[in-house]
Symmetry: C2
């Protein structure tokens, strides 16, 4: 690829020179301090330095070859991390397997890692749902990659409603075994990552029956392939579910089970148990079974905020080197980032990515506190954590998906090239809208939490911290005064949220009064539930962002850096307020002058961010091999890279394709 | 695929039985009468009946193999249509090549037809921009597929701003030739469909120089490959630009030219000419060169409205057969279409697809009138047509892309399967947001048209029909009274549009007064320009829909059918008003009761459409081989088809993949 210069594009050089702050300061802030940043950089260099530079070559391959490549690359990555763990801290787990799926290393397996669910879900699930002995027996082996696993919950015909799962595990008292069956096509396990050909074990979620009596959902460790030959075991029908929008390497699989027998002790029994005599002991809190899903949802908020930052980096750098359409007729074509409409496509996404990164950190704090509580047998914080994890997972996946797409479109036609890596980032970001809880289902769950909270608020019961604003908003009868300050914008969002919650509640009550069941009334209020849940989530995100920029953490921060963060906060709050203006205007009187002033603030802050946009993205500190983008590399040699990638396309290996013969037929 | 039953899913049967109207009546209306519908069905059967049933098998292949398949299938399709043309009307063109790229036949080449730009752009361009002799010489041969072509305008570094093209054609007076060059990498032609390996000629758009003096942009017919061997000619560097988000079969190409010589008479000279002695004659109206782009934009409005209807059909049928999450706890899981939030995902997209289909018909009428005018030397209607084509192209591509994606997500995880065909539909729909004029650029052009119109309105000059509402709105000082009737909603949208235009104009004026150039001021007003343009386009779409349902065309229409159309109109107007409520509330006072009543209307009309949703989609009358979807086939056997497609995946041809060897390495 000698066509790509070793120099940095002059437009990018200029951007970096003219920034008002040091992008290294930003990187230190974003990555949590010097030690973490240093290790991150070391790790990237350790993993990427000997990988070839091919940007998205996998996209040219057949599905079979993509899968084979993904498998090989995943294994190379595993070996590297394991080696590093052994060198630095033998017996520890902080590098291997903890970092196996981390966003910094996505670039090592760009089509998706067929073994990552193995670690993110299966090992964690055995740890949380299994007894300590079970973790010793299965979890440790999985953690050491001696066996490979998948987490098999979703079925072809069944998703979020777990009780509806058709897969059943019947207790055979005589043999002290469970007998597992997927009695119909729609009962087939469908979608689990790595299940197709990469796993020889899996955790199967099934309805448990004892003497044909349903006991609810439980989890079972089931061997599906021979450990030596990897052949499917008798009664096991297993394979790949076929090509998807993205994640072609992940080997999502199907699994049919026909009278597959496992020892009773393969049921994960930390919370519920089946004794030798068939006695069933219920879990003390049924929600415990969902706790590993909450974990993954917290993870999604973080990962998707990073995916959005990656796309923003690509589009922002490209917008600095691409020149198009003169602003003044006889002047040269400007950097497209100088077009106001282009700024409007780029900068709000940068702000959103940061807002949700901060929100995810805060969410992790709540998660850790809740997990601590559970260890002590306290389950009281679970509903709040569950609601906020649902809400942020839904919002972040949805905003990041539409944001990546907006950024892709902001690169014009070239964003459609696989070599921009934006299509691949999009297909990964949007997948999070449905996996681990479909977004609308999650928002409806949040809506039910909000109705319950409103009922508490009306009766003067105390509210948990993340919804405490409801109490104030009710007192103030949902009418506020607009000043436009940051605090005031957040207050306005809270009052709008409270108002939407109130309206939903009133409509729900009216429906109940009219004779609908609670469930029917909730279904008929669904649209407003989801709107209330969205506002509620945004209140949390906005307040967290404000706290980071103006609270204790900001003290002592480099002023030039904090000024940049203030601009991003201003942009986030103004654009969020404008996006929800139809709701705001129902509760707060904004004059035409107020609205014009808001538009001016929007335009002003876009201009204020303009000179720093490239430096901010530099501060995200993505490795080029992770961005994997012709448009977004650090050196900005976009055209040369597009050119080099095109020339390297397999379609161009001969001047006339073989299929040319067919031309003569017409 | 014996696993797929020959019977129709009972849930779909029930839906069809319970509809309040006849879907055949809808089909007759949608397709423009009995004769057209009959021919469409004949054509589909003629093309599809002997094609194999593989739904999206192409997605499993390598890029090379996809291209080879697309080429072969395109040629099979061409032969079929040519045969039919010869049988029915030898010498005519109404079947071949006219129908070659029509939406009904997309299913024959699902990865995209590498020869379709040849017909949609190149032949048309030679007809419009070339003299009659040139059409005889090049156009006829192209039309007969004796030569294959591409339309090469966009360059690696240059898009919508044509004057910025770097490709140059220098007149060599001595040899009576043009010498063509792409002097840099960024000057390479980039993106033309079919250019990679499918074309041996192309129309090259280049800056014309005579004695080194620039004469502006002109078009040239350039041979790029040998007609017999298909080898690139000397000086021609040509190939495929590599994998993209979609359209993997289309063979988008690059083209570098180094001192490539063509006869002077290869410049297309209908409107501008270069004489033997080097005299340059300018085109009478420079906009004429853009007229083929306007044509393609009208086409996009129609095609994208149909793509959206296809996705809506798939998602709606699937939502009738998928059962999930009980509404009442102890009842069976309902069809997901019974969830109100699901209805909100499906039905507005159905309404939007119809609204834009109707708008495209109206737009074609304006196009035809304008084209008639041009023949008489009248260019006065061109700005209005141009503005409306830009506006509707931008809105329809953008709404259809986000709509297809919303519908894809409405199918949960299974919408992520390639075999749902929704990813493929999405990648096609979203491409239209950037090709043939990037959407934001188009909306900014509309914005400039709106500013000009506002200036006219202020000075009492007459306004063209599509913007005539501006005059009224100004008179009424942009304050309206809300009644909520259909007419009133459209009026409200118009007043909101006029208000946005006024604000943009005032901001523009203030910026001009502050010393900014017209161009700078326009750039700084860009965000509001695009918002005004969006409102303006929606006013046209809404008014067209209202006219169709309540105007003369509705008289005599089957009342049951018209009731369905009324419901769709109601949904379109209510949801459009709600989407733009932040703008409406600036000009019209809606009380809290008004807003609640609007929400009630929304929920009521969703419920009213619910029993007819499947029948409406049946009325779109898409052939199964065109939908190519496991989720959306007419018989509704979704699970069985997903299952059959997965089993047929090449990844499952052996129980243990070869790459399993690598497992031992870790």
């Amino acid at each position: 690829m000698s066509i790509v210069p070793k120099t940095v594009n002059p437009d990018l050089q200029k951007e970096r020179k003219n920034a008002t702050f040091n992008s290294e300061d930003f990187a230190l802030w974003y990555h949590g301090g010097e030690e973490k940043l240093k290790f991150k950089r070391f790790l990237e260099s350790y993993v990427y330095d000997d990988l070839d530079e091919g940007i998205t070559r996998f996209q040219d391959l057949s599905h079979e070859d993509i899968f084979a490549d993904a498998t090989k690359n995943s294994i190379i990555l595993a070996k590297k991390l394991r080696k590093l763990q052994t060198e630095r801290n033998p017996g520890g787990t902080e590098i291997w397997p903890t970092l196996y799926g981390s966003p910094e290393l996505w670039g090592a397996v760009p089509s998706g890692n067929p073994f990552s669910v193995h670690f993110s879900m299966m090992v964690g699930c055995i740890r949380e749902q299994g007894t300590d002995e079970q973790f010793e027996k299965f979890g440790k082996r999985a953690q050491n990659f001696e066996i490979t696993g998948a987490y098999a919950q979703t079925e072809l015909g069944h998703g979020t409603f777990l009780r509806g799962l058709e897969t059943r595990a019947d207790f055979d008292r005589q043999n002290d075994e469970f007998v597992l069956n997927t009695p119909t096509i729609s009962a087939y396990k469908w979608w689990p990552g790595g299940l197709g050909h990469s796993a020889n074990y899996c955790v199967v979620v099934a309805n448990l029956y004892i003497d044909n009596d349903p006991k609810g959902v439980a989890m079972f460790v089931v061997q599906v392939r021979d450990e030596q030959t990897h052949m499917p075991l008798p009664g096991v029908d297993i394979g790949d579910i076929g090509k998807k929008l993205g994640f072609a390497g992940v080997n999502n699989g199907f699994l049919g089970l026909k009278n597959v027998r496992i020892p009773r002790t393969n049921m994960l029994m930390r919370h519920s148990q089946v004794h030798r005599d068939g006695t069933f002991v219920k879990s003390p809190a049924s929600a415990l079974a969902y706790f590993s899903m909450v974990y993954v949802r917290c993870m999604i908020v973080r990962n998707n905020s990073i995916a959005l930052a990656m796309a923003a980096t690509i589009a922002t750098r490209y917008s600095a080197v691409r020149r198009q359409s003169p602003i003044n007729p006889n002047e040269p074509e400007p950097q497209i980032m100088d077009h106001l409409t282009q700024q409007m496509k780029l900068f709000p996404e940068i702000a959103i990515s940061i807002a949700f990164k901060l929100a995810s950190t805060k969410l992790w704090q709540i998660y850790d506190q809740t997990a601590e509580g559970i260890k002590r047998g306290e389950f009281s914080r679970m509903p709040e954590l569950h609601a906020m994890a649902c809400s942020l997972k839904a919002l972040c996946s949805s905003y990041s998906a539409s944001g990546v797409e907006r950024l892709r479109l902001a690169c014009g036609g070239h964003g459609y090239l696989a070599s921009s890596n934006l299509p691949n980032l999009y297909s990964a970001a949007t997948a999070a809208c449905t996996y681990e809880g479909e977004n609308t289902v999650l928002l409806l769950q949040v809506g039910r939490f909000l109705m319950k909270s409103y009922r508490f608020a009306l009766t003067g019961k105390p509210l948990v911290p993340t919804i405490a604003y409801l109490q104030d908003a009710i007192k103030e009868k949902s009418v506020g005064q607009w000043t436009g300050s940051w605090n005031n914008i957040i207050k306005a969002l809270q009052i709008a949220a409270a108002n939407k919650i109130r309206i939903s509640y009133e409509n729900l009550s009216a429906r109940l009064k009219a004779g609908q069941t609670e469930a029917e009334a909730a279904n008929n209020s669904g649209i407003e539930y989801t709107q209330a849940a969205e506002l509620h989530g945004n209140c949390f995100v906005a307040a967290t962002f404000l706290e980071e920029v103006t609270g204790p953490a900001a003290r002592g921060r480099n002023p030039a850096l904090n000024q940049v963060l203030e601009n991003l906060l201003e942009l986030f709050l103004v654009s969020t307020a404008m996006r929800h203006m139809n709701e705001l205007l129902r509760v707060i009187n904004l004059s035409d002058a107020d609205l014009r002033s808001l538009q001016n603030r929007l335009e002003d802050v876009l201009k204020a961010i303009r000179p720093n946009a490239v430096a901010i993205c530099d501060g995200f500190d993505f490795h080029d091999r992770n961005l994997k983008s012709t448009l977004g590399s650090y050196d900005g040699n976009a055209y040369e890279r597009i050119f080099a990638e095109a020339k390297a396309s397999p379609l161009n290996k001969q001047p006339v394709p073989d299929v040319f013969e067919a031309f003569h037929e017409v």
